[in-house]
Symmetry: C3
């Protein structure tokens, strides 16, 4: 596995005519060395209950092996066959919208015993059959697994038991969830109403946490099954994905990625992103940073776009830029979904490397150059390690709670996360993601905490201690507001972190024609408007960085910084323009001592850095623009690997539009 | 009760920790002299079927009494406990959207006998327990009661019986409702289809009337129960509310306020309104005029906003302005929803006087000044009486019918009502609301009739007679078009009122680039565009005030005035700009002899006037703007009560931004 | 029947008071010579199961006959009576939204045996009663019949049998529909899942085709019943309608008009269109061309608007212009929906010739002039025949498939059809509609093929042969992409037509700031932007007419023309502005040798031409504008029929705003 992998998802089952040899020949020409198979084709492999047919698996494995292409085998459980649903209609999840209908994938109740029985059997049949095949390097369990909002009576029963297990008594539940409100008290376990109709955000958010737990358990169960067959050297991965806004956007609401990742050997991920004139690389970095953080190690990009949709078909050069950007974030594999475009069903316009005509095309031709470079440079580029000093703390609980208590203008938790994350990206600050339970905070010089709305006392106290001991933290509005059952804290806000932040507030308003006034020349922006949310902050010990410019709210602070112990905490009490957020972040980065030569460069010139297993420093310079860019190379003597040209310090480096340079420091 | 009441809703049940004494101390400091309790906490008071626990009620009553704070006790029936729904799922209303789900308040079938049985028992238990407690001054039945669109089979059965009772025969129903259309005839009572799927607007509107009748009956039933326990000096009220557009907006579609109010001793109301830069006071006046008109007497503001939402948190001064504006409309109580902000559930961001931290804050601090002034000035300000000469005739039937036959651009009945009402407000014309059945029309000099679309012959004939005998009426488009079963009249439109209006029309069109041409210098506006609707009017005896400026419709009249008997009728055949409507209204007000010194002032300077029980004239001058305003005081010698300063006629009076002056004429 | 018919829909059943004699007197005054009755009043004619009452039919027939007004009798089956639904709730269609509710029309399962039994009985009772009445000239079956998305279990069962009949084996179905995808394979007939939840576009589109087949069968069944009673000289027609966008817009998605029309004697149609300043006549031409093409003969306009909605009430002159435009397209009847405006129910604001007051009004008065001219000119204007040399090929299958695979910006198939059709209309090119199965292609000089997305090999090969033999074709993007089961072709696109078009493409993208560059002075437009869709075309033998102006896609062709055999094929690979499309079409029309004097005129001056049964050429000149228009008459000596004035060649002809001239060449 210690080689870069360039891959595709491959579906022999979907082919309109015999293609296997022709496809393999074209793959070899493109340097494809890995394929992923079988994760969506249960009905082909088990056409009737207990009747198995692995013809397509067998022949693909054999042919791939003959061509020295490795195979990742997926368990085919995320799309259920027709016969199973006919026999057991209750395998379909009952959701708040009602009973399910057969057709789509990802519609099952992942707690349903009929589903689990049949899923286990197909997994055992398939994995036991393939595990010793020399082509197989690893497994993917299911695909983009979520809870599909399963909320039927059986799930409700599990939830009630979960609540009793977790909280002990109804008295405790009534108190912590505030169920007296609107006569929602539960005074006997039999009375526990279906949570589907609840208006209690605490209860609703807890149900979300419970549902995410179902996903963690389901995946761990699959991994345990596969592990029974897994051979030395093989791995088990999962294809995690993200909040979807027509493309990968932010923290996944339905899965606790950190918890779910524990069972796996290596994290896998799919990343789809805007393209053409909208390509910025931000989602590649975001998804890569998240995937890398799950196991704190390298990861696999199990799916990303080739041609994909009409609005994603890459401009010349973009496919290369994307591929190297994934490596630069720490990926050891870049695989496309998918090899060939599908001729029927629903994803016909989510095109693969090949169009429906299976002919070479400009995108495939560009892939050929990537495959060649991956093979040639694998030794230098495989296994890139990061030692980031900046972390962004993200939380499913905060996300979920903010779905119940939405920001006024429809923005959600991930908008706040991306507002800051994107700023770091633009200033070439690479970062890890951590969750509130993470205990190694002191490994970081700067921790960014966007909208940590619902969180335990312990986590906040750990953050206070981190600052006290010399760390730097940047909080946004809404952080610390509610506890882990989404009960608003009864102290002056922002609650426990008030101590490190040196501020308090009790009022917050919706901004209307509000601007920011700076008392600090370092923090400014052309666009100093405020949107979405503003807290009316009174500093206790904090310095005011920005104040509101408004006839009535002008006395209040908007952004503050406080020295606390050996460290400092910045608090951003409102949503600013991206430009202003960048200015605040820059100050925090500088204070944390993390501003260097690569930060003087900025988007569209992106720099990503790491150490390869040979302990060499590798720097990727990525041009996310349609214009030629140049820079004065600020580091030590290096070789640019793509051109095999030596680069001296201070030498001017030119990047073509959508171009890449990879500098291996000597 | 003959004292101004300054109040809050108080929920001991929702407290995250013991707060009672601390809260009472803060209430006393703020001049809070009344609290409302218990209207949403059934599940706390009856935790299991037949098990009662009034601990929180008892201790609050005792503590309030000790602090000399009066208490209004609500019947806790608008939010049902979990055990009741588990035992009897059919207490949830079946609506056109299907069966209900437990969670929210206001989801019951108010005709369901299980609900009624348990509601009666908790009412009797609670009210019998508290009625002799010296803290209790009155009761509120249920809260914001509506029919919740209950439309299940049992309700359909009641409706069929109601139809038979009201119309006698199916032949009559088929004829009056036009059921031959699209084969909808009902030729046997057994065939009467559920009205849920009906496309017959007459039938649908009749079902709406029937549903409003359920509300009237349900409230009267609750009042009768409470009256069995009510002690001398105590009152029963209801918290009526309004069409909701994110705030109180217009006539309530689901309740016939006039009919429902009959059972009560005093009208209560909740009024929520835009704030900050959007505060105009219009909804305070509208809701107050409606509440005052229900019993033609003073009323209680049982709920209005303290901090409320982020976009409502008041600017400094606004809370005071709002409080005195309520008094100026005739309120005897101003109570906030609610005392403290809630830490869980759904209304967490609908904040109270106190934030979640229970600390004094700017809004609470402003309330302290209000409480002090209420106490000091109660003798002069309590019991303000109005003798308005202008009435606005509103109708649930017209509203309901216009939901079935919508205006082309999505405007509804209340948009038409507010288009004119707001004009009156801006020119400081105070008014009453009346309904079409009101028989005292001659008490008014001017009656405004917006879009009285569905109405009986009798009501229109009464209006004709009113004009004939010297009254002045202003009708808008669509008035008189259909009868009380929403059958369009078969005569030349506008039907019966054609006689008083001196016009006829048979065509109406949607305006496109149509303007108004004036033949009358008094009526003009910068914005003379026409929108929404235009009737192509031909005068018979009427004078044309405005004509359409359009290549094809230019021959038709748009706005007319007709002398009829001793009075006059103005007919506005199209939706004009607000400015043009104001100009038309001004002319009508002048013709009715109602234009005085206070009408020379105008929004944002609002004037409201009344007579106190000592027969003194009280004038409120309210500055609804962010700018200082001044006026020349046009009345006799007075004392400004807030400053205790004497004001002479013609003296210049200055009002701070969002400021108030209260002039007691000597 | 060989006389122009001027008609109305007449509903004695809906009258609020006795109107028959008065209405007939007004009809006679207006030249109304035909009424349509009975198509929506089942519940009146059969008030209880098996109890019949045809009083209103009888009296209307007798009175009309006495007045020499002919009657078309409709079968009253498209709106079911209350008693039928109470007895047999399953007559209501179960749709993807769930079970139906009584109230609206067109809610039945047209395969339900209870419905069919009762429909047959009322049809037989009614038609047998009226067929020999001398007033009756013909019959309409049902009204605007569709499948109402019926998709319950019984319909699913029929569909499974249809699939087995059509495709033979599941293996064939799995292959052609690509059911391996997402585990959708069906390996046993019992497993066939309800298609309601399917995500397979091929399957979904096939279900659509099956549903359209139900409509064809249902109508043929009704026609067969009526034919048992039909007397010599009587006809059976159906009221076909169109994709509805608040007015008639395009090809009807739910009915295969060509197939369904086969059973009928004459095509009928309803056409509703924008009016007032939005009146262009395009829908009158579109609907007329479609209706005329169904039986390749004259047709009846069974419904069109009189006053209709407030936004449709015609300007003076428009009703005349509309009426003659219908004749100019080949209609032999123009009938209004409806005589009088309805006083109850739902279509109260869809007004008739008469308003609710039954008085003469400006629209009725204009109708009087039309009726007079129809009677006077019937001999010259009845039975206009067309010999169009241009056809537009439209396809329900392409439409349906493009609903499953939507264009990125929400445009649908009909947007593409209308984009080109409207261009032809504006340049006075009259055309027929043909379907892909039509075998007489060689009768046309130019065939326009918009977005023929899903189509059989045979149809495309027929088009290739047509071009080879000297025909001219204009294709748009997406044509030929998928086969008749919506499986994308596996060859280079545009598949089979690549041969005639001389091009290939494998990439397509969403345009962003893309313009067209012309290499051809004849094809240009002020607005040369590209929207919606663009294919990146590489010519093989084709000439490039337009190329993309874009930094990355500039090498690709956008619009091409190819000589192939004796003919030529133009391919439009992107959606252009209307102006650019017109320019491309003009070139194609010229190449086909169809550009003449009337094409030098252009919208708003519309010309329509035909030959009457006396073999005289009749030319309609129609002014679709608010401005007076003039033209130099370019044909031989003629009489203008409305003015009875002789017109010499080259004489200037003036048309009033919304005016009409009808020139009978001598």
């Amino acid at each position: 596995m210690s080689t870069l992998r360039y891959g595709v998802a491959y579906y022999d089952e979907y082919m309109p005519y015999e293609r296997l040899d022709a496809d393999i020949a074209m793959m070899k020409a493109a340097g494809i060395n890995t394929v992923r198979i079988a994760e969506s084709t249960w009905s082909t492999h088990e056409p009737q209950n207990g009747v198995f047919d692995f013809t397509s698996v067998d022949r693909v494995l054999d042919a791939m092996h003959a061509a020295e292409i490795a195979v990742i085998v997926g368990t085919p459980t995320y799309a259920v066959p027709t016969w199973l649903v006919k026999e057991h209609p209750d395998v379909l999840a009952v959701t708040p919208k009602g009973p399910g209908k057969y057709g789509a994938r990802q519609i099952m109740d992942i707690t349903n015993p009929a589903y689990l029985f049949h899923a286990e059997r197909i997994i055992r049949k398939l994995i036991s059959r393939v595990c010793k095949h020399p082509a197989v390097i690893g497994y993917q369990t299911d695909n983009e697994t979520k809870h599909y909002d399963t909320a039927g009576e059986n799930v409700q029963l599990l939830f009630v038991k979960y609540m009793r297990e977790k909280f002990g008594t109804l008295e405790e539940i009534n108190r912590r969830f505030g169920l007296d409100y609107w006569s929602n008290r539960i005074n006997s376990w039999e009375d526990f109403p279906s949570v589907v109709g609840t208006i209690n955000g605490s209860l609703g958010a807890e149900f979300g946490r419970f549902q995410r737990g179902l996903v963690t358990d389901f995946l761990a169960w699959q991994v345990a099954l596969v592990n029974e067959y897994k051979q030395p050297g093989q791995f088990v991965t999962q294809n995690f994905d993200f909040e979807w806004r027509g493309h990968s956007y932010g923290v996944q609401p339905s899965v606790d990625h950190f918890a779910a990742a524990e069972a796996f050997d290596i994290a896998g991920v799919d990343i789809y992103h805007p393209s053409q004139h909208k390509l910025t690389g931000t989602e590649i970095a975001f998804g890569g940073d998240m995937a890398r953080s799950l196991k704190r190690s390298n990861y696999l990009v199990l799916e990303t776009q080739a041609q994909a949709f009409p609005h994603w078909t890459p401009y010349p050069g973009q496919l290369r830029l994307q591929a190297f950007s994934h490596l630069a974030s720490g990926a050891n594999m870049v695989a496309y979904w998918h090899w060939h475009s599908i001729h029927n069903s629903i994803e016909t316009y989510w095109k693969g490397l090949l169009s429906h005509d299976f002919q070479p095309n400009p995108v495939y031709n560009e892939a050929v150059t990537i495959g060649r470079d991956f093979a040639r440079l694998s030794g230098s580029l495989y296994g890139l390690r990061k030692k980031n000093k900046v972390a962004v703390m993200v939380s499913n609980e905060a996300l979920s709670a903010m779905e119940w208590f939405k920001l006024p203008d429809g923005k959600n938790y991930n908008d706040v996360v991306r507002w800051l994350y994107d700023g770091l990206y633009r200033m070439n600050i690479e970062c890890d993601f951590i969750h509130p339970g993470y205990e190694g905070l002191s490994g970081y010089s700067l921790i960014i905490v966007p909208a940590l709305y619902a969180v335990s006392d312990e986590a906040l106290e750990r953050l206070n201690a981190y600052v006290k001991q010399g760390g730097h933290a940047v909080y946004t509005f809404k952080s610390g507001f509610a506890d882990e059952t989404v009960k608003v804290r009864t102290t002056v806000q922002p609650g426990i972190i008030s101590e490190a932040c040196g501020i308090g507030y009790s009022l917050f308003v919706t901004p209307h024609e509000v601007r920011l006034k700076s008392g600090n020349a370092d923090i400014s922006a052309g666009d100093n408007s405020v949107e979405t949310w503003m807290e009316l902050i009174t500093p206790t010990t904090a310095e005011v960085l920005l104040r509101y410019d408004h006839p009535h709210w002008g006395e209040y602070a908007a952004v503050t910084r406080n020295c606390y112990g050996q460290g400092s905490a910045t608090y951003i009490g409102c949503m600013t323009s991206r430009e202003m957020a960048d200015s605040i972040l820059k100050t925090a980065v500088q204070e944390a001592g993390l501003w260097g030569a690569d930060q003087e460069l900025a988007f569209p010139l992106i720099v990503k850095t790491g150490i390869n297993p040979q302990n060499q420093t590798v720097r990727y310079y990525l041009n996310y623009s349609d214009l030629r860019q140049s820079l004065v190379y600020p580091h030590g003597p290096a070789v640019e690997l793509l051109s095999e040209r030596e680069i001296a310090p201070k030498e001017e480096l030119e990047l073509a539009p959508w171009g890449v340079a990879i500098l291996l420091e000597q």
